[in-house]
């Protein structure tokens, strides 16, 4: 996203007056307080995941003691014949598969809306725009009722198929293709005798690739974070993604799943996502800001 150069850091003549110093300290204080509020819960998660499970209740929650992280991790992977790894792989399957197929589908639709004049184009685009505003959770229950009637519940497809649909992806692809794919390039391809599908695949897709990465990321995280849809659709724990699996562990203290497993499992499950987030931060911001001005 275009970010105008900031001039607010430029030194001003009155910078060192008492008033400016007070205001700087005040701003820093408020920002720091909120940063602490934000960081304390994940800090607790990190600290607690490293503790020997016998000491969860007796040691201070916010500082390390009785380091036993490796045992905790081993127990997470051993519990219930390695179901944790299965959940992680399920999440990867739903997210990578759903986002890959979804990105292609969205790119095709967005490209068509941007680059072809056809009747009803405005209507189609308005339907897509309207659907962007409607949260997926609104369709989850009706979908569950429909899939129950057609006996699709409790299968991979019940979570995979609905995850492919991303009106937001179509919107981003439409905006980007409209701005970045020049008509002259398509024209040249047509003059050379290329077919429309070939032009899309070999000329337009490479030009659209930065937007495709953003679409993929948003959809990947959306599917990875999804909770309501898999909770409704999947009762077989071998099919569940990590979010649902861990939520069930959380409730199974009385069935012999100790807190330490759920806590360490939660930490392990967010690490890949956190890395992806901070490595690919720019793509996030570009997608968020494009979303914010729609």
């Amino acid at each position: 996203m275009t970010t105008p150069a900031h001039t607010t850091d430029a030194p001003m003549s009155h910078q060192h007056t008492a008033g400016a110093l007070t205001s700087r300290a005040g701003v820093l204080l408020v920002l720091t307080l909120f940063a602490i509020y934000t960081l304390v819960p994940p800090w607790w998660l990190l600290v607690t995941a490293t503790k020997n499970k016998g000491y969860l209740f007796t040691t201070h929650g916010l500082w390390f003691s009785h380091f036993d992280l490796w045992t905790n991790i081993r127990e997470v992977f051993q519990e219930q014949d390695g179901v944790f790894l299965r959940w992680m792989l399920n999440s990867v399957l739903y997210s990578v598969g759903g986002a890959a197929v979804g990105t292609l589908v969205s790119a095709m639709a967005g490209y068509a809306l941007a680059k072809y004049a056809f009747r009803g184009r405005g209507l189609v685009f308005n339907v897509v725009l309207g659907a962007v505003l409607v949260p997926a959770s609104m369709f989850a229950l009706p979908l569950y009722l429909m899939f129950s009637a057609t006996h699709l519940v409790n299968t991979y497809w019940a979570v995979f198929l609905p995850s492919i649909v991303s009106p937001f992806g179509v919107y981003l692809a439409r905006v980007y293709a409209g701005a970045a794919v020049p008509d002259e390039l398509l024209e040249a391809g047509r003059i050379d005798g290329a077919r429309e599908a070939g032009i899309f695949w070999r000329i337009s897709m490479p030009v659209m690739s930065p937007a495709l990465v953003t679409i993929f990321l948003f959809q990947f995280v959306g599917i990875w974070n999804n909770y309501l849809l898999p909770v409704l659709m999947l009762s077989d724990d071998r099919l569940q993604p990590i979010t649902v699996g861990l939520a069930n562990w959380r409730a199974e203290l009385n069935n012999g799943v100790p807190h330490s497993l759920t806590i360490t499992g939660s930490l392990l499950s967010v690490i890949p996502l956190l890395i992806a987030f901070f490595v690919l931060q720019r793509y996030w911001r570009s997608g968020l800001t494009a979303g914010s001005v729609k």
Partner: protein, 318 residues
């Protein structure tokens, strides 16, 4: 590399039709476009439109079972009867009221915080901007369910450092008691979404051309007065957008109370409208569940669009 959208295309994608290619024209263009749109169109029809139609249809029927379970169950058209029942259902109405109350308190608190943080980050006095922005963004990088599991531990007395801390100063607080459970859920929502909303508002603030401030600054307008009279009016569209998203999100509240339900009896199985509808489906009352889902969808639509109309009529609109 970040994507750069040319500004004109981002600000008005809906109104501004793209330049049309001279070729292919007419039939050929329509055929190609149809083929490109087909996969999305089919999926959208089956995964979005069909369920809505199905739920609407089912909501007008009721399954009647034979008295002794001897005769097969028959679906019978009963008109609006499911809707009447839903509106008279105390659990369902309580869930709607609970979510409305929660939203009325939590959304303004969260968005007020988001706006405050965005203004502070944008102010001349701010230091370590990138670091703070990254920290505030962190909760957004965490799945809602995992964040809810984390908070569910921080609320139970045996593990929570907060309960322990409060006890050491003589306060005995049960975060999951009937009275505090809504506050605890509101806190989870605030923790999870303040940074996200702040980022949207902050981006809008950064998009304001600096020249717009200069005149005001020359007139001696700075600090809070600059924020109140110049900056906030200019980011109104972003504020309205975050407000609409928050209203929708609160109406659809599910993950946080569903996780807490597993550890606290004060959070019931029908705590929010979605949970109430799910509960009806779980006890095989599909038609009733469909009616509840339709009512919730209509309510969400009325609240979010009602808010938009309200700000437009008041002249606050973008």
């Amino acid at each position: 590399m970040a994507i750069t959208y040319p500004d004109h295309d981002v600000t008005s994608p809906a109104e501004r039709a793209p330049r049309l290619p001279r070729r292919p024209a007419g039939g050929r263009a329509t055929r190609s476009a149809t083929l490109f749109l087909l996969p999305f169109g089919v999926l959208f029809a089956v995964m979005v439109l069909a369920p809505i139609g199905y739920a609407l249809y089912e909501s007008f029927f009721e399954v009647r079972r034979g008295g002794l379970g001897l005769s097969p169950a028959v679906a019978e058209f009963t008109g609006a009867s499911n809707y009447v029942k839903a509106l008279r259902d105390t659990d369902f109405m309580a869930s709607i009221l609970r979510v409305l109350l929660l939203g009325v308190v939590q959304v303004p608190v969260m968005l007020g915080l988001s706006l405050l943080l965005a203004l502070l980050l944008d102010s001349r006095s701010a230091r370590f901007r990138r670091t703070f922005r990254m920290i505030f963004f962190l909760p957004f990088a965490m799945p809602g369910a995992i964040a809810a599991i984390m908070w569910s531990f921080l609320y139970i007395p045996s593990v929570s450092p907060f309960t322990a801390g409060l006890r050491s100063i003589g306060l005995d607080v049960d975060f999951l008691s009937g009275g505090l459970a809504p506050v605890s859920i509101g806190n989870m929502m605030t923790w999870g979404w303040t940074g996200y909303n702040m980022l949207i508002i902050h981006s809008a603030l950064q998009a304001i051309p600096r020249e717009l401030y200069e005149a005001a600054v020359l007139d001696g307008c700075s600090g809070w007065r600059l924020a109140w009279h110049v900056k906030i009016p200019l980011v109104r569209p972003a504020l309205i957008l975050t407000m609409v998203f928050s209203i929708i999100g609160t109406a659809q509240l599910y993950t946080e109370p569903d996780i807490l339900r597993r550890v606290a009896s004060t959070v019931t199985a029908t705590y929010t409208p979605i949970m109430a509808s799910q509960y009806s489906a779980n006890v095989n009352n599909y038609n009733f569940a469909a009616a509840q889902a339709v009512i919730l969808a209509v309510l969400t639509f009325v609240l979010s669009f009602g808010f938009l109309k309200f700000v437009q009529r008041k002249g606050f609109g973008a």
